[in-house]
């Protein structure tokens, strides 16, 4: 028979829970923490004292109170002092940011990525360069507690190797290891699929707070997906799950970068929108997609037709997902925000005819609250996760 958790384990768990609370909900009074965590006041006081001593939070008097009695101290995350590096590798952009505890972007650098061959050297070099620039500007009393990266590719559960998306060039690369070596901060870089991380970010600090069943559809050049079912991100056997962009919606349809035909991303990705309007090759990326939506709005019939067709296929894809997973919220992020808002009539008409009435009844379709930063914030959350799991241990590790 296994003995119950030790006092030390309980304390560690509670420290993590309290820190997570302040990290996600922002400054919270001790009284509120007491009621929300279901612990007594002296426990909260002891936990806060530990976290304060570790430099993770600080306590302050609230700005103003209208209630009678001694005001309860407010616990704030030390956003300016405790931070992580977050990276986002999209097809068209590279982003590096310094994100403080509490999810505040303290500093960021962004570069346009030219399409074409994925060069591990070039990309990790650029990202590490950005991080060094930002690191140099920090004050001596700040601590970097982790690093995380979002990448458009499949990340293996076992060895962290990244199988790049077809749009980045099919290769298998040791991305996290190489970036960590280049950073030379003595920190491992946790790596996750961009759409998966965006789903987690939207659930922890976007519009999916408190939601257990959420699907995030991230439009870059292709379509990535993050499926959270019953509170957990679906990874599958090797961690490659959730690739909804390669769900075949139109057998024999448009060719996809993966080699198949009629994948969701082939029918609703950037190329499906740009090619019929004669724009493919001249302009690419988010701006080009926006230009098509704008042209459709101004009355350009080829743009309208392309957008309607794309909306129709997007509706088919979402209807399939709704039937299989019965999500509470489907979030459209990246370039799919523009596509959804520009073709919602087609998307929802498809849902009305193709999705099961019981499954779509309470479905909410939303655009991402975190917007273009959803993937980056997901990377930051990934970097913070080990600190939240065991705050003191994680801090002890980095300060050595």
């Amino acid at each position: 028979m296994r003995a119950g958790p030790s006092q030390e384990e309980i304390r560690r768990h509670n420290l993590g829970a309290l820190l997570r609370h302040v990290h996600l909900s922002g400054p919270t009074s001790r009284a509120e923490l007491t009621s929300r965590m279901g612990l007594n006041r002296s426990t909260i006081m002891a936990l806060t004292a530990d976290l304060t001593a570790a430099g993770l939070v600080r306590e302050e008097l609230p700005r103003q109170t209208r209630r009678a009695g001694r005001p309860s101290l407010v616990v704030r995350p030390e956003s300016a002092k405790v931070y992580v590096f977050a990276f986002d590798v999209g097809v068209d952009r590279l982003v590096a940011a310094r994100v403080g505890l509490g999810g505040v972007i303290l500093d960021r650098r962004e570069a346009v990525r030219r399409r074409g061959e994925f060069s591990l050297d070039e990309i990790t070099g650029a990202l590490a360069g950005f991080a060094r620039q930002m690191h140099r500007k920090t004050r001596p009393d700040t601590t970097c507690v982790g690093a995380g990266a979002a990448i458009s590719g499949r990340v293996s559960k076992g060895d962290g190797m990244v199988r790049l998306d077809p749009n980045l060039g099919h290769e298998v690369v040791p991305f996290g290891e190489e970036l960590s070596r280049r950073l030379a901060l003595g920190l491992p870089v946790a790596v996750g699929n961009d759409a998966n991380l965006a789903a987690l970010a939207e659930q922890s600090r976007g519009l999916g707070v408190g939601c257990h069943d959420l699907i995030f559809l991230h439009g870059d050049v292709g379509v990535g997906g993050g499926v959270i079912a019953e509170g957990r991100l679906l990874g599958g056997h090797q961690g490659y799950g959730g690739e909804v962009g390669h769900m075949v919606v139109n057998p024999g349809g448009r060719p996809c970068g993966c080699g198949a035909r009629g994948c969701l991303e082939a029918e609703v990705g950037e190329r499906a929108l740009l090619e019929p309007t004669g724009r493919y090759g001249t302009r690419v990326g988010k701006e080009a997609v926006r230009a098509v939506v704008e042209a459709a709005d101004m009355g350009d019939i080829t743009a309208q037709e392309a957008l309607m067709r794309v909306g129709d296929w997007l509706g088919v894809g979402v209807a399939n997902l709704v039937n299989i997973f019965n999500p509470e919220i489907v979030v459209f992020g990246g370039m799919l925000r523009e596509v959804y808002l520009g073709s919602a009539a087609q998307v929802r008409s498809r849902l009305a005819t193709d999705a099961l009435p019981a499954s779509r009844e309470h479905l909410r379709l939303r655009t991402s609250l975190l917007g273009d930063d959803a993937t980056l914030m997901g990377a930051a959350e990934l970097a913070f996760s080990h600190v939240l799991a065991d705050p003191l241990e994680a801090l002890a590790r980095v300060s050595i």
Binding site: D297, S343, A344, A345, R348, S349, A352, E361, R366
Partner: protein, 256 residues
């Protein structure tokens, strides 16, 4: 749950012209109800009846499930009904805070309580996740169309309102600003308000609405859940008052 706002059997005539015939309409908290219809179908008239601007000839007005009398805009405002008109009614020469509190300024003694107004305006914009406005002390004349719409909507939300009615909020905007306003409309409802959205743009309607109420020649053709209908059905309801099983039938008073 009872709808926040419910109108039953509304008739309204202007002289010899009857513009609303026995109209039923409701709006639920937490939902966006789109009000659609052709030009002259009676959308604006219905909304002005709800806002107490036009007296109704016949019918009942319920708020939070209770019958109420609305004899003017003041009554409607007291219940928590706010209307944002197409022309927005903002003053160009005043800043955002001044516009939001125009005519309802807060005072501390004899002077205006600028601090508390500024704080409340800031909180309201933050609660709507508005990031497009740089400073709340900016003059409204310096704002873009989308930002103006945002300020007008925030102004309507400021007064603990329960129902916010938006008349064609995206009509004059480009794509990028339309997207921002649509997201704002959705957020209002997600924050718990009952939102009524008048729009001609079916994409906007489908992008954010939970229910669609279609007016046809002064009658309510149907009020349906957006999840249950297609674009084609809504267009049919707007243009002919019926679509298959949905809508007006000969028995319900429309001339065949």
């Amino acid at each position: 749950m009872a709808p926040v706002l419910e109108l039953r059997g509304i008739d309204k005539s202007f002289g010899p012209v009857q513009v609303l015939h026995d109209v039923n309409f409701s709006a639920q908290a937490g939902e966006v109800t789109a009000l659609v219809g052709d030009n002259g179908a009676g959308k604006s008239t219905l909304v002005k009846c709800a806002g107490g601007i036009y007296p109704i000839d016949a019918g009942q007005f319920y708020f939070d499930g209770k019958p109420v009398q609305v004899n003017g805009p003041r009554d409607a405002a007291e219940l928590g009904i706010e209307i944002v008109y197409q022309d927005l009614a903002l003053c160009d020469n005043l800043d955002i805070v001044q516009n939001m509190f125009l005519g309802r300024e807060r005072k501390r003694g004899l002077v205006l309580d600028e601090d508390s107004m500024e704080k409340l305006a800031e909180e309201t914009l933050a609660s709507l996740s508005v990031r497009t406005v740089k400073s709340i002390r900016q003059l409204v004349s310096s704002l873009s169309g989308g930002q103006r719409q945002t300020v007008a909507i925030a102004k309507a939300v400021l007064w603990n309102s329960k129902v916010v009615i938006l008349d064609e909020p995206t009509a004059a905007l480009g794509v990028a600003q339309t997207s921002q306003v649509l997201e704002l409309v959705r957020r209002l409802a997600d924050n718990g308000l009952a939102v009524v959205l008048i729009s001609h743009n079916m994409n906007d309607v489908f992008a954010v609405s939970d229910r669609i109420a279609a007016l046809y020649l002064g009658r309510m053709a149907a009020q349906v859940k957006t999840a249950d209908v297609t674009h084609a059905q809504v267009v049919e309801l707007i243009t002919s008052g019926r679509s298959g099983e949905l809508g007006l039938h000969n028995g319900s008073g429309v001339a065949s």
